[in-house]
């Protein structure tokens, strides 16, 4: 429990950071062990440190992330909760390397993202990340199978596509185009595309946002299975409070800051979720 308290304390401090936040953060980091953050007995995989991000200029400038810090262990299922505009998607995009923070840093498996140039960032996404979006973002002119192959191409040791199609329940639909599929089937295809290369981190941005209750549960079960089976970090952004129960870690955000960050010791299977 001590660890959770520490992190709560840490995020509490972060909330009060002001203009000299960076040096304060560094001091705090040092208090936690001098830049390399470790958890007892568990491998630290993803460290998010004091991320700040604002949009707009002058009067219309809005600070969307106000110094976010999170640490995630290998294989952890983390849910980022919060209402619209709380900054959770922006944070996800920064972790995904498709947006850059104004300040702060992200360390993944010991590598600092800030040092990465465009090419390296692409390689980073290629090596570590799988992405799942609310709107699926499938390539409309490719079949189900080919959409999954888009992901498989990127992995050094991708999963077997046919086997995955069976796992996803898409084998019989493998030759269909996205517009011939239901929302659930499309999202399963998107999951297939994300996990086929067996990424270290699976970033899910409201993956059930556009789906009905039953389909949402199916998708959540699938993500849960993937997380268990392949042991990848899952970072899921949602505003559905019920989903937090299936996570190892819950980070609640509000107005660009972390309200709560805790480990969920009593993980509930997706099957048993209800909302």
């Amino acid at each position: 429990m001590g660890n959770e308290l520490d992190i709560d304390n840490f995020s509490h401090q972060l909330r009060w950071m002001t203009t000299n936040s960076r040096s304060l953060f560094v001091r705090n980091l040092r208090a936690f062990g001098g830049g390399k953050i470790h958890r007892k007995g568990e491998a630290m995989f993803l460290a998010i440190k004091d991320i700040r991000k604002s949009f707009g200029e002058g009067d219309s400038r809005v600070e969307v992330l106000k110094g976010i810090g999170i640490e995630i262990e290998k294989g952890e299922f983390c849910v980022l909760l919060g209402p619209s505009g709380s900054g959770k998607s922006t944070l996800l995009n920064i972790i995904g390397g498709i947006d850059r923070p104004d300040s702060g840093e992200i360390i993944i498996d010991g590598e600092r993202m800030a040092d990465m140039r465009e090419k390296k960032l692409t390689a980073y996404r290629r090596k570590h990340l799988g992405y799942i979006f609310q709107m699926y973002n499938l390539i409309p002119n490719l079949t189900v199978r080919e959409n999954i192959e888009v992901g498989a191409y990127l992995g050094e040791h991708p999963l077997d596509v046919d086997e995955l199609l069976h796992t996803l329940g898409l084998f019989e639909h493998r030759n269909k185009l996205p517009n011939q599929l239901s929302g659930g089937q499309q999202q399963r295809t998107a999951i297939g595309r994300a996990i086929v290369k067996n990424p270290d981190i699976l970033l899910c941005d409201e993956p059930t946002g556009a789906l009905d209750y039953q389909t949402s549960k199916e998708i959540l079960k699938l993500i849960e299975t993937v997380n268990r089976k392949y042991g990848n970090v899952v970072l899921m952004v949602t505003h559905n409070d019920a989903i937090k129960d299936m996570a190892d870690r819950v980070v609640r955000m509000h107005d660009g800051m972390i309200r709560k960050n805790y480990r969920n010791e009593m993980r509930v299977p997706a099957e048993n979720l209800d909302w």
Partner: protein, 774 residues
């Protein structure tokens, strides 16, 4: 209250955000419209100047040539048939610059000239020469021209109204403004020339204009009989058959329809490009359109909105194009005409028709095609738009592709299937641009090849045509004719060993429909001829030029007719003789003489490899050497050579613009997928490999596959051109190197576009894929 559609406010923003695309289309349309408008204005103004020149400069209704000067009684007898006869005699001089100049004493009554620069000659050693001839031979006012016996100071450059096209001989395949010119001297200057070499040519004018060509033909046929009866007629050319007068007018007319057709092809292609662009915008804005339609906007309002930009661009292009047409391009086109024809001065005449053809018609074409595309696209229900489901058929099946095909190849194939419509337009565009390019590259090549071929299969180095006096064949005055014939025989006897006599007879093809009647020379050669081999006693062999032009082969029967009579002759071809220099028939001399009742030992010319020096010059009608034969290719080169460069540049421009616009659309259409693949970790190189390489494959295939098609289209166009407007035959030969050149030019041009597209792929932001998240 007249409410204005608030959507119009988007137009300016749309223009700003897509300025590159609109600018490219605008430039292409403006250049095309401008050039065609300039051409039509120049063509129209020139045509008017040309038409008016008949009256203004009192151009003859025809001319004839006599062996001797006409006496007063003959003149009176002929003029009593309702015509006025004018002296139109000339003397030709070979000049030191290698050209021949036909000199007239300045004609003040008929065939007057239009002085364009300088002044008319006033003294015996002054001369006014044809402006084109002067330009081609770098002669300026103030220069001196001449030969060893005469020199003249050029005082003026002029357009000779009866030589708007410099044909030295009406039987020539092509005019020659380089080696042939006309000049006007003062009466005193003309009198100084060697009068023995005077050609007694007379021009005539009817008392009133013939009502139509048919009447003109009838009148001229009647007149010819009268003149023939009265005089020793050597040559007779009514105006409607005189190429030096008529060719220009015919050419001015035919170019016009070709230019208009070219413009409309470009407009139609660009209209489809706009159609594809707008379709793409509609797909992008599907949700907005759905909302607008759901809120009560009519389909018509949306069609009008989306058609605004294409129309605006076309309209502005048309206006700017027309302004440029009247100012810049008109002069370019006028210079082109002045570069081929010796036309009189013109006045720019505003042509309402040209304006309509280059403004209203392009705009209407643009409206028609875009309304068609837009109505089809906007036919879907608002709900479908809201769901972004723009497929017409609910379940659009994917084309099955075997997973064994490498993934990238399958991906590219999918891109090609997805953009099939774009690629079809691209193919048509490439075909069109490449046709232009082929035309630009082929013409100089064809001419070169023709010159080489002529050189390689000359019948002989010199072909002497003897001028048999017309009175030597006068059936009605047997004695006179006999004496004339004896004199002639004596005068043309040669000791030259290489010289070989032949007989010849000129007939005409019948001429059907679009194809005008054309002169055919029938050669009668000796059986053991050293120049024309393998002509047996019963052989009728047509020259390969004749065979190719009219698609003839052994066994076919040709019907030829006397030029001014109805008599026809049928010949059954026994073979093709390899000779491309003329439309000719080769047969046994005895047989030819017998067929045309010319007497057993009749001959009228010599084939020889070295010049003949011992025959009476007055009996030499003409000497044909290689230089005369390549006249046609030389002139085509002078008239069109510089234009070909322009055509090539224009072709490349069209190619570039089309590939740029259509591949840009493909990238824009797939922006979200491109963005997504970037997020997934694909490198720009890989994405380029998927989306740009697809276009590359299509472009390369188009370039390669269209080549044979282009060859055939070009072959047909060239053939029609040859059949309708040029006598003689130039074979269409397209050397393999030119295919390589065309392909290379296509690829290099495409590489430039591909680089631009690669930049575009790079600039697709990753958040593009996230735009529809919330």
């Amino acid at each position: 209250m007249n409410k204005r559609n608030p959507l119009r406010k988007r137009l300016l923003r749309e223009l700003k955000s897509e300025i590159g695309k609109y600018l490219v289309i605008f430039l292409l349309l403006t250049a095309s419209i401008g050039f065609v408008s300039g051409f039509l204005v120049a063509d129209g103004s020139m045509m008017i100047a040309y038409d008016e020149s008949f009256e203004k400069y009192n151009i003859e209704h025809g001319s004839f040539q006599l062996a001797n000067e006409m006496n007063r009684a003959q003149r009176k007898a002929i003029e009593s048939n309702g015509v006025t006869i004018y002296d139109n005699d000339y003397i030709e001089e070979e000049l030191d610059n290698g050209s021949t100049i036909r000199l007239y004493a300045n004609r003040e009554e008929v065939n007057k000239l239009c002085l364009m620069k300088g002044k008319m000659p006033e003294t015996a050693d002054e001369i006014a020469v044809d402006r084109m001839y002067a330009e081609n031979n770098h002669i300026a006012v103030g220069d001196t021209i001449g030969n060893q016996t005469h020199t003249w100071k050029v005082t003026g450059l002029a357009a000779f109204s009866d030589y708007s096209c410099l044909f030295s001989d009406n039987d020539d395949s092509m005019f020659d403004s380089v080696k042939f010119g006309v000049g006007a001297l003062t009466k005193e200057g003309y009198a100084r020339l060697d009068q023995r070499r005077k050609i007694y040519r007379y021009a005539w004018k009817y008392a009133r204009e013939p009502a139509d060509e048919q009447q003109e033909k009838e009148w001229s046929e009647d007149l010819m009989k009268v003149i023939n009866a009265e005089t020793d007629l050597e040559d007779f050319i009514p105006r409607y058959l005189n190429k030096a007068i008529q060719f220009t007018g015919e050419d001015l007319g035919s170019d016009r329809s070709m230019m208009i057709a070219l413009l409309y092809i470009i407009i139609v292609i660009m209209a489809f490009v706009f159609g594809v662009t707008v379709s793409n915008t509609i797909s992008k804005e599907a949700a907005v359109i759905g909302t607008l339609r759901a809120s009560g906007y009519t389909r018509g309002e949306l069609v009008r909105h989306y058609i605004s930009m294409p129309l605006l661009v076309t309209f502005v292009s048309a206006i700017v194009g027309n302004i440029l047409g009247y100012t810049v391009f008109k002069n370019v086109c006028v210079m082109m005409y002045y570069g081929s024809y010796s036309l009189p001065t013109y006045e720019t005449i505003w042509s309402a028709e040209a304006f309509v053809l280059t403004t209203a018609v392009p705009v209407l074409l643009m409206i028609a095609i875009n309304v068609l595309v837009l109505r089809r696209k906007l036919k879907l229900s608002p709900l479908k738009f809201l769901r972004r489901d723009l497929t017409r058929r609910r379940q659009k099946r994917a084309v099955k592709l075997s997973p064994r095909i490498p993934f990238f190849s399958r991906f590219r194939l999918r891109v090609i299937f997805q953009n099939a419509g774009n690629y079809v337009i691209l193919m048509i565009g490439i075909l069109f641009a490449n046709l232009l390019l082929m035309f630009g590259l082929a013409l100089p090549d064809v001419l070169d090849h023709y010159q080489d071929a002529l050189q390689n299969n000359l019948l002989c180095n010199y072909q002497y045509m003897l001028k048999v006096p017309m009175n030597a064949m006068d059936e009605e005055h047997k004695l006179r004719s006999l004496i004339a014939m004896l004199q002639f025989r004596h005068g043309v006897r040669t000791e030259q060993e290489e010289a070989e006599a032949f007989s010849a007879y000129a007939l005409n093809t019948q001429g059907e429909g679009l194809y005008p009647s054309e002169s055919v020379v029938l050669y009668g050669v000796d059986e053991d001829s050293r120049y024309i081999k393998d002509i047996g006693e019963t052989d009728i062999k047509v020259s390969s030029a004749y065979a190719e032009k009219f698609g003839l082969q052994a066994g076919d029967t040709i019907t030829l007719k006397e030029e001014y009579e109805d008599t026809t002759y049928d010949f059954t071809i026994t073979g093709v003789y390899d000779y491309i220099g003329a439309i000719a028939v080769f047969m046994n001399r005895g047989k030819l003489n017998e067929t045309f009742d010319l007497g057993d030992d009749y001959y009228c010319g010599y084939f020889t490899d070295t010049p003949i020096t011992d025959i009476d010059a007055k009996y030499i009608g003409s000497v044909t050497s290689l230089d005369d034969l390549i006249k046609i290719s030389r002139q085509l080169d002078v008239s069109m050579g510089s234009m070909m460069y322009l055509v090539e540049v224009f072709a490349i421009l069209i190619f570039m613009v089309l590939v740029y616009l259509l591949s840009k659309i493909i990238i824009e259409k797939n922006a979200q997928s491109i963005s997504m693949t970037k997020i997934l970790g694909y490198t720009n190189r890989e994405i380029g490999g998927l989306y740009i390489v697809s276009t590359t494959i299509v472009v390369v295939l188009c370039l390669l596959l269209s080549l044979p098609l282009e060859y055939w289209i070009m072959y047909l166009i060239f053939r029609v051109m040859m059949m309708t407007s040029i006598s003689g035959w130039i074979p269409f030969v397209f050397s393999p190197m030119l295919y390589v050149k065309m392909f290379a030019m296509g690829i290099v041009t495409y590489a430039v576009v591909a680089l631009l597209e690669y930049r575009k792929v790079r600039s697709v932001p990753m958040d593009e894929a996230l735009k529809n998240v919330e």
